[in-house]
Amino acid sequence: MNERTLSIGSTITLPKPELDLLMTDLHQRGYKTVGPVLRDESIVYSDLDEMRELPRGILTEQSPASYRLIQTNKERYFDFIPGSQSWKQFLFPPRETLFTGMKGETWHLEENDEPALHYALIGVRACELAAIHVQDKVFMRDDFTDPKYRSIRENLFILAVNCLHPNATCFCRSMGTGPKHSSDFDLCLTELEDTFLVQIGSDLGRSLLEGKRFDLASAFAQNQANEAMDQAAASIVRTLDTSDLAGLFTTALESNRWSEVAKRCLSCANCTQVCPTCFCWDVTDQMDLLGKSTRRERIWDSCFNPNYSYVVGGNTRPNIRSRYRQWLTHKLGTWSKQFGVQGCVGCGRCISWCPAGIDLTEEVAAIRAEVKE
């Protein structure tokens, strides 16, 4: 037991098994802990109640259209890069009921007022935290706030993790989002051989460490962590030139590259579904066969879906060229005009999970080269 007082900004070392106690504490405080687990040869985000459910000794290897796991014997829990899923699914569920309707004399609507869960996110990477901040700007604007998003967001516990093994599809450095965390977490882990180096980011985070077997971080441990993080940052080779992207796309709306990429793009919408910032949604009515009751649902949509831009008399984006152009110019260009932040965080998911291996960093470079000519 350690009685030394901790404060926000303090850094300690925590024996790895203590993470289990930390999760137990979170449960006792009413949090539902969710985090990375191994399923179907991928890392997914799911219920995570104990450390033994964490993917142990897993490394990942990614390239365009490829995500592979490598099993090692190491007692390490966060060496992988997350799979196709992001934390978006907890804050902005892929499918949720807004209200239900029952038909009597007239229709009666009932709001789905299930209380929002208090989630504790275990293992949030820097690019992913940046993505949550991007979605905050989308769902909690001055002129429109999504009440469901807000109620989940405001009750979030964030256990951040610094990335030590970035993959070939990562380009967080170009987007200024990682691989190292800077702020806005409750606790931030850097995984060392036998311990976690833990930085305290909030009062809640601090109070969770009370009664745990920790030591104030030694200079040696801190150096070790810093070295590992520097190495991680240096290992990121993929880049995206972000200078005046909005301006670039304004002049490149008729670029030949859109037709060229359209030959490879399947318009499958994978990129938008794995993207941690893509926010488009549709609403549908699920009526029973007798027409007596209906459920109004919000579901994820995608600008690659042909129905997305349907208006009476046709489709305003009738082909893959126009849909890919919309996705890329929005994500990297007009997004910042709409929300004051860049829409891409450089996590690389859209590259790894594109079945055709389309790489947006390559597309941007090609468009830049064409415009320069």
Partner: protein
């Protein structure tokens, strides 16, 4: 490129704190307008909503039919003479709007709104006004016509260019006399005439070939098929009418009305909240990009 867009009218909406939750309104009148087009008069059930709700011409509501979903329908009411009644002229062509065609007097629909920008009538006072619309583009301008009539002295020459496919597709024919007698010049054109048709046959923008406009003092309000608006804008610009004086109502797929669901984007804009009415000056480099 200037990106000044119109301010949202100060408004009082149905204003549910619940996400996408509509207020109920009862159908108090149904007027068949043309083949596949009818006008519904709606009245909010809750007196409190009826009291609070205000809108300006050009704005739209999301109309909800349980089991079918929502459709964005512009308001075509005259804001002064029909307090508490929402007038929606609906073309029955989609899933929701076809269901709307089967509704009867006394049936209820859900309403969210009003959404979007309005025709900026205050800013064009003192000017000649050319209203150029086609097909279902007239209803969003009907409220403007009545506002102009009520303040007729504040505007110069007012011309309504209206095009429809056939004479039987013309909407609100009984009101034309009222409009004309309020000194609104009407130029109606159809794609195909019938036995009785003695008016023009052709397309809306052709009007510009035959009449002069005061370049520095004319405002254009246009709503209709994009191809029609494109040529109206082309003709207006060719006559040196300022892009700031050309107002365009755009249509895109809309689901939320609040710039949240993403569907109605065109360039940097969410048409549902930054539009649907834009000064053309804000659309340069956007409007003419094919399939954008």
């Amino acid at each position: 490129m200037t990106t000044t867009i119109l301010d949202l009218p100060s408004q009082n909406s149905v204003n549910s704190k619940k996400l996408l939750f509509p207020a109920w309104a009862e159908i108090v009148q149904i007027i068949p307008e043309a083949e596949g087009v009818s006008t519904l008069h709606l009245r909010f059930i809750e007196p409190e909503v009826r009291e609070r709700y205000r809108f300006e011409p050009g704005q739209f509501n999301m109309i909800y039919i349980p089991g079918y979903g929502e459709a964005a329908i512009s308001l075509s009411s005259d804001i002064e003479t029909s307090p508490g009644v929402l007038v929606h002229t609906i073309r029955h062509v989609g899933n929701v709007t076809r269901a709307a065609a089967r509704l009867k007097m006394g049936d209820m629909v859900g309403v969210r709104g009003p959404f979007g920008t309005a025709w900026p009538l205050k800013s064009i006072e003192g000017m000649d006004v050319v209203i150029a619309c086609g097909g279902i583009g007239l209803p969003p301008l009907r409220g403007v016509i009545y506002q102009i009539i009520r303040n007729r002295a504040k505007f110069g020459k007012v011309t309504l260019l209206y095009g429809a496919r056939t004479p039987s597709d013309l909407m609100y024919p009984k009101e034309y006399e009222t409009w004309k007698s309020a000194n609104i010049e009407m130029s109606v054109t159809v794609d195909r005439g019938d036995d009785q048709w003695t008016g023009r046959v052709g397309v809306v923008p052709m009007w510009f070939y035959h009449f002069r406009v005061d370049s520095h003092n004319t405002a254009i309000l246009t709503c209709g098929p994009e191809i029609m608006m494109r040529f109206v804008i082309y003709e207006a610009l060719a006559r040196r009418i300022s892009p700031e004086h050309i107002f365009v109502s755009l249509e895109r797929n809309m689901k939320c009305g609040q710039g949240a669901c993403g569907h109605c984007q065109q360039g940097p804009y969410f048409i549902c909240k930054d539009g649907p009415i834009f000064p053309f000056s804000a659309l340069q480099g956007i409007f003419n990009v094919e399939e954008y």
